[in-house]
Amino acid sequence: MGTVLVDGIEVPVADNERLNGIQAAERAGIDIPHYCWHAGLSVVASCRMCLVEQGTKDPATGKITMIPKVVPACQTPAKDGTVFITNSDKVKQCRAQVEEALLIDHPIDCPICDKAGECRLQDYYFEHGQPERRADIRPFHSPKREMGDTVTLFVDRCVMCTRCVRFTREITGTSELMVTNRGSHEEIDVFPGFPLANKMSGNVVDLCPVGALGDKDFMYQQRVWFMKSHDGICTGCSTGCNIEVEENQDRVYRLKPRENAQVNQWWMCDEGRYGYHHVHAEDRQVGPRRREGDKYVNIEWNTVTAEMKAKLTAAGRIGAVISPHLTIEEAYLLIKYVRSIDPAAVLALGPVPVIGTDERFPNGFTIHAEKAPNRRGIEMLLAHFGGKVLSFVDFQKELDAKTLRAVWVSAGYKKSDWNDETTARKFAGLDVLVVQDLFSSPLWNMATYQLPGGSFAEREGSYVNFQDRLQTAKFAIRPPVGAWVEGQLYWRLLERPGLYQSRKVLTEAAAEVTALHLALGGVPPTGLDLRANQLAGEKKEAATV
């Protein structure tokens, strides 16, 4: 254990910790401004925004000796006895000079720049900048250049921090981005014929501390200060990247990765990042409908909750397809519901789309081929509830046997292609077929009840990712008028009072399902490793044997 002094504040550091000045200061609640440094990338110490004064404290005498020059905090190790001063006049002058230097050739087109409002150049200018411009005034234009399909470079807004270049070299290993020219003529560019085209390209936009890299998907869509940010989990694949869902008035404009060292570090893939447009698709289903003859009539949700139980009870044997897009809480409630009507209800895991193979990047980030967020979670529930538990393929065979009279299918896939005419035909002849989904599909068009469900941005609850980590997402927006998020419907079907409360359901499920026991103590923001529980469980079993 050692102690680092930052502006007189004592910061404890463990012996095996390797912190730099920025990280040590952060522990003391002091923000050292920085552009080029990023915890996930190599240190280049080139922007020089993080300059501080540094010295050492003699452990014997307690005397502090400062070195005469300033040092970049990002490159300076914070060891026992290291002293940092971040608020002296000298440091303030250094910051003001760097900020001034960066603005000499900057277009300052904030009014039309997407980064405005979350731009370090802007923020640091207000906090640390010179009060007025001293360099010559020159006309600016803000030339643009395509980096690839996802990203546009606003050439002159760049502050040359090289974060984006390092990202493509160190994280994706694709090295598309580079620096051309020299001195103040430097620019970021790609090699002709080799555009920025990796599957994590969007991250460079988050990394860019200014508005130089623009996300084509987000460009000119929304001013950032109008948006609210909600902690979510990406449902694009079984990795379960932690994300922020950013919305304004129930419309999602952007997804961004949220740091989680155990799962996605600081990154997310493009498929996940841009995979939210279905939420606002024109053809999304709204308003529950009931089949009458060969027509569908619009009904009220209250009608659904009022008549469903009787219909299902009348049908007899029930089967339920539990989608890997449902949260733990929703799946738990759905199982509870069908088993409350038919204690021998057959349960099946819904289709789990697998596309291609897992793609692992040099730094370890992996895009999984399994394109669903919660297969593991559903499997844990099915294992617990037991009875007849089937795969989706076997469930179709079960249908062939004609023993089931009512089937509840939950879905929530981003596209309608998860079933086709052949699959749908197997569901023919049932007394009751309930389909809960976002889009119409062959199966949807056979349903007795068409129940529009929620998308990931509207759901609240937990998913268990490929490594058995349980992570909780908050809902970001309300579903479109006429759609009910699954959890809400199940809550009502189970005749629970008021609004759906996912927290309560999780506690209930955790108390009941051994694999989820750990969640009883609550779920930390970075998730909960359920394997610890399994190990403990295995040990206990071994002990009892």
Binding site: S46, L51, A101, M160, V179, R182, G183
Partner: protein
């Protein structure tokens, strides 16, 4: 002052001085034969250390000491980089050595590698030196043929390869870690230190970077002994325990407004005035001197009154210059306007800044735009203060940048304006009588001709 007997240049006047035959006839490779037979690598290092030799590449770091920074008992490989990027304006002494006495350099490289246990030496040379390159290559070829390079040199267990690597001509490739990056095939962006090259250099292996002239000095030290080397130059100041002294001969490059510009060998410590008068035969056209660059443009300026400054490692620093640098003296006569000088200097550094660090990239560029505006008759007195602020704030000495290029950019600004402020004020007031007092930002000139 007694006429000094050249050592490093002793061979250069001979016909075919660049060939192995002529070099050996003059006693060449005698030191190497002796060292390989009689001395251990550590003894060679100790001899170089004892000689007080300081690097000739610009920083003047004690050579023997630098070698001892290599990790002990390293499994290898250890690399030697010989810096022949020679791009400091006014500097051409390495070129003399490479063109007219390449074997003296190669002998020094072999000795340095023997001392440091380096197995490969990369000679990094700028592309603008085609003759140097050819002469070095043919000298290297001769050495391989004569068993002086390659496997088991002179029948010993010591082996060494030397490769010439041609740089694409950028000043920053001379900075040792810029050189290393460039050698590895990357953009010559100087590395942050630590780790220093001695610990992690080329291909992340321990590396020594030495200048061409440093290598030539090593040849002479091993041949003639450390004591001989110490008879030349300026001894360490006994009152300053941190002064390593300035020993040995030095190749001074003299250019500018003198009657006889050229590369001259003199003992370290010769004054600027002696160099101008005794070697350069005085200022040209019967004019008076006004200023001189003491050791390459990065080092700043001496005024005429400071011409008596000894050009040793400590001298120029005492009158506010950055140091001795490459000992390239550029003389300016009384007709020179310092505005022109500084404009030229700023243009060079704005062009050569590698662009990595914000203060250097933007500071060099900003100072150039101001100088261009001043030259165009739109200067303001305030510009001088701004220039000084840039000069005082960029560099590794204040700690705001990664490499020393920006200190080199800063010094001409600081020295020119502090030592010749009258020149600047007069020029600005004369050419911009209505606007010189303005303090608000003014419109920029179109950046014509600027790089």
């Amino acid at each position: 002052m007694a006429k000094f007997e050249p050592v490093l240049m002793a061979n250069m006047h001979k016909a075919d001085s660049h060939t192995l035959k002529v070099y050996e006839a003059g006693g060449g490779y005698r030191g190497l034969r002796k060292a390989l037979k009689e001395m251990t690598p550590d003894q060679v290092t100790e001899t170089v250390k004892a000689s007080g030799l300081r690097g000739r590449g610009g920083a003047g770091f004690p050579t023997g000491l630098k070698w001892t920074f290599l990790p002990k008992n390293h499994p290898g490989p250890i690399y030697m980089c010989i810096n022949a990027d020679e791009s400091e304006p006014g500097t051409f002494n390495n070129r003399y050595l490479m063109e007219l006495d390449p074997h003296q350099v190669i002998e020094g490289i072999i000795l340095s590698c023997y001392a440091t246990k380096a197995v490969t030496a990369y000679l990094y040379i700028r592309v603008e030196y085609p003759l140097s390159r050819r002469r070095l290559q043919s000298a290297i070829d001769e050495c391989y043929a004569a068993g002086l390079l390659g496997k088991n040199i002179l029948g010993t267990s010591f082996s060494l390869d030397i490769f010439i690597h041609v740089g694409a001509a950028a000043y920053i490739c001379g900075e040792e870690t810029g050189l290393i990056e460039s050698l590895e095939g990357k953009r010559a962006w100087p590395r942050i230190k630590p780790p220093f090259p001695a610990i992690e250099g080329v291909f992340r292996k321990p590396t020594v970077v030495n200048n061409i002239e440093t290598a030539a000095c090593v040849t002479q030290i091993i041949d003639r002994g450390a004591d001989w080397f110490k008879t030349i130059g300026v001894p360490a100041d006994p009152k300053n325990p941190r002064d390593p002294g300035s020993y040995g001969p030095k190749l001074y490059c003299l250019s500018g407004h003198v009657n006889k510009p050229g590369c001259y060998e003199a003992p370290l410590g010769i004054t600027c005035r002696e160099l101008i008068n005794e070697y350069g035969e005085g200022i040209w056209k019967g004019r008076k001197g006004k200023a001189a660059i003491p050791g390459g443009i990065s080092m700043g300026l001496l005024t005429e009154a400071e011409f008596d400054t000894p050009l040793d490692f400590a001298g120029p620093g005492k009158v506010g210059c950055l140091g001795l640098g490459t000992a390239a003296v550029v003389v300016m006569d009384e007709t020179v306007n310092m505005v022109d000088f500084l404009h030229n200097s700023c243009r060079f550094f704005a062009h050569e800044s590698c662009g990595q660090c914000t203060p250097c990239r933007e500071g060099t560029h900003w100072s150039l735009t101001m100088l261009e505006r001043i030259k165009a008759g739109k200067g303001r007195l305030k510009d001088l203060d701004l220039l000084l602020e840039i000069g005082d704030s960029i560099g590794i000495i204040p700690g705001t940048t990664i490499c020393g290029l920006s200190d080199g950019a800063a010094w001409p600004i600081k020295n020119a304006i502090r030592k010749f402020r009258g020149d600047f004020e007069e020029y600005i007031k004369r050419t911009n009588p209505n606007g010189y007092m303005v303090t608000e930002p003014v419109p920029a000139l179109l950046q014509l001709g600027a790089h």
